[in-house]
Assembly symmetry: C2
């Protein structure tokens, strides 16, 4: 490891809201991990694990309608529910069989697809969820760039679940000497993940979004989204389209 000096240790920074992305984004050649644990990025990972060919994230329902009119299968979620007239929302359980295998899907969600749009300025954009945690870390280590862990949050606000996941990634990466240049936000996220990791579901008991999903009877989704390493697929952005990369 003699080639590692403090000068080329990679930065690992947690960005706890898309609104803060411009503050942290100072190196175009970094890798941005887009995180929306409940549930957009968990659903996207599940979709690729089930064999879809590609997924086009779009920010507005209007854009989503245009794709629908062209014959695409299109998902749309707002405020945790499927928008009427669309094929699916952001539940990962929609992809537990292979009904969409080989297809090119389109998706818009409240927070996740907006975070993806903002992240596009970076050269490398990937999708992170607890369900592909180890694959994401392996991919980043191999790529060997500065890392921004971009939490989608809730309408610009900090949320617990995305920051917990960011802490899980930062902690795994920090075991590698090359990824030990941690921001204050990464230290806080790691600290919180260590407190929570033995019972993520319980830790999130009072969180705003778990309560929101529980009210909608989505406990099964929550449990799925908090399960580590169900997939070794890392969805990566190529142009405007997510495609599958297998670690």
């Amino acid at each position: 490891m003699s080639e590692i000096s403090s000068g080329n240790v990679r930065k690992v920074e947690v960005v706890c809201s898309p609104e803060l992305f411009p503050v942290y984004f100072d190196n175009k050649d970094c890798v941005v991990v887009v995180i929306d644990v409940f549930r957009a990025t968990s659903a996207i990972c599940a979709a690729f694990e089930s064999g879809i060919k590609s997924l086009i994230p779009v920010t507005s329902v209007e854009e989503a309608i245009t794709y629908k009119q062209k014959g695409y299968k299109v998902g749309a979620e707002r405020n945790a529910e499927i928008v009427e007239g669309f094929d699916f929302g952001n539940s990962p359980l929609m992809f537990k069989d292979d009904r969409f295998a080989g297809e090119s899907l389109v998706l818009t969600t409240t927070n996740g697809t907006r975070a993806l749009e903002i992240a596009k300025e970076a050269n490398n954009v990937i999708i992170g969820a607890f369900t592909n945690l180890t694959a994401v870390c392996d991919y980043i280590e191999r790529l060997d760039k500065d890392v921004l862990l971009l939490c989608a949050g809730w309408k610009g606000r900090f949320n617990l679940e995305d920051t917990l996941y960011a802490g899980a990634v930062a902690q795994k990466l920090a075991k590698n000497l090359r990824f030990q240049n941690l921001s204050d936000s990464s230290m806080a996220a790691i600290d919180m993940y260590n407190n929570a990791k033995d019972d993520l579901f319980g830790f999130l008991g009072e969180s705003s979004h778990r309560k929101r999903l529980s009210r909608l009877n989505m406990e099964e989704d929550i449990i799925y989204c908090l399960t580590e390493d169900l997939s070794d697929v890392v969805p990566i952005l190529q142009g405007d389209t997510l495609v599958s990369h297998k670690e």
Copy 2:
């Protein structure tokens, strides 16, 4: 406490960067606690404890120069150091005697005075530091409004020390039934404060700003800024000027 329903429990939200203030600010009649532990708000509290009459926060060095030319005693700090030609920076230790007693001071700092400027949209703006922690909580409880704990951060980024303090305030307030409507960010800050409270200095050992101050031999400042309840003065904003309120 029969008058308390979930409808009128006060919101307590941590805003971990001034950039996020617009996202959280949805009720003008709230109280905003401006937090810049290292060191602007600790210095402002120390200045009032030492008997100054008032303090005008300004955002630019140019404005500060204008006041200097009018004969005011003016402080200016950028990147943790006193700007040349000014009377003081943001070290609270500058106010350990009463040399400025009775005076109206002016101050500009890298992060703290900018956060104050952003907070001015709210009806009630106060200054928080570990050194006046209990007085701040008492003031908020008496005022009985929704609370935004506004962390100045470092140039828009999350920092550990301001969020720790926000967690200390949120936790103290949450003992009162009226202040139990916590945001995800408040829950995270409380969790972090509980981890750190027995050794705040040690917890901050790797934080970016403690390292920055340590390089400048400011350990004594750090220890001062992490000491709870040295003062029962709450600086409050009246128009463009901070004045003293004693709990």
